[in-house]
Amino acid sequence: MASVSVSHLVLFIASLVIAAGVVGTVTTGVDRVSAAVEDGSLEATEQLRTDVTVISDPAAGVYDPGAGTDGNVTLLVKNVGSQRLAPTGAGLDVVFDGQYVPPSAMTGTVVSVDGAAVWGPGDVLRLTIDLDRIEGVDALATPSDHRVRIVVNGDEETFPFRVEVP
């Protein structure tokens, strides 16, 4: 009779240990999924709220051949979304004529607000691309067609322009 009670006790403890193990595994899994859902939703919201557009006039001379050896390309980019972005243009991925523009080759300044701490909705960023610092790009010939592609938080903008004969 005592052996039955002992075996019942062993089974009771074993069932509790197994149940606790199952619960631990499930709660850990749910915690991980919750954190991933949180991160995913934040990222998705940033992408949905981000919208920028290049407002420069392609025919108004965005290329300055006199700056440095190869010249500069200056674009004015307006934040038409509701997401606040970095005021220096950090976070922008820029491709010029198929060549990646490293962050060291571009400078960004918010021109619509003095000393802006953020590139907020409605603000205009002046983005200057220094062609001297892009590998595989020389001074732009006249006339010639070019394309600048800007990607920020998944929002893509393409700006084609032509360098006219002066």
Binding site: L16, A19, L48, A59, A60, V80
Partner: protein
């Protein structure tokens, strides 16, 4: 035996309840965030569809005042906020909002709204801004939604 099953079932039920109370808020908040972002995106797209502008005239020093003068017509269905507009002379930013006296709507300086069909007049003195207005050949006006209109400067 029955006690073992009941006890372990109770432990599992409690664990699932705890997991649910952790998981549900994360899922609900995430869904709300994405739904708000989607609605915001659709709202902006609708605003953009309702926005249209035309630069009717762009002149420099036409009346001998040394100013770049533009007339912009709101051809869209939405009202435009003057402070949201961006003016570029060639490829240089011009801060039109720096002085409220530089803009007027249908002759009225005390308003910041351009209603559908109304004409906004901008008159920016060359010596008051850093951009070279005297040498500008083209101007661009962009609305807050990113809709643009360009014109050549005459005079």
């Amino acid at each position: 035996m029955g006690v073992s099953v009941s006890a372990s079932a109770a432990v599992v039920a409690a664990g699932l309840f705890i997991a649910l109370t952790t998981g549900y808020p994360a899922a609900a908040n995430g869904f709300d965030r994405v739904a708000e972002g989607t609605a915001d995106s659709h709202e902006r797209a609708l605003d953009r569809h309702h926005t249209a502008i035309t630069v009717q005239t762009a002149t420099f020093n036409a009346s001998g005042n040394g100013a770049l003068t533009l007339t912009v017509v709101n051809d869209g269905a939405d009202a435009l906020v003057v402070d949201d507009l961006t003016l570029l002379a060639d490829n240089a930013f011009v801060d039109v909002a720096a002085d409220p006296a530089w803009t007027s709507v249908e002759g009225l300086e005390a308003t910041g709204l351009v209603l559908p069909g109304e004409t906004l007049t901008m008159s920016v003195p060359d010596d008051a801004v850093t951009a070279d207005l005297a040498g500008a050949t083209r101007v661009t006006v962009a609305t807050g939604t990113g809709v643009r209109a360009v014109a050549e400067v005459s005079g």
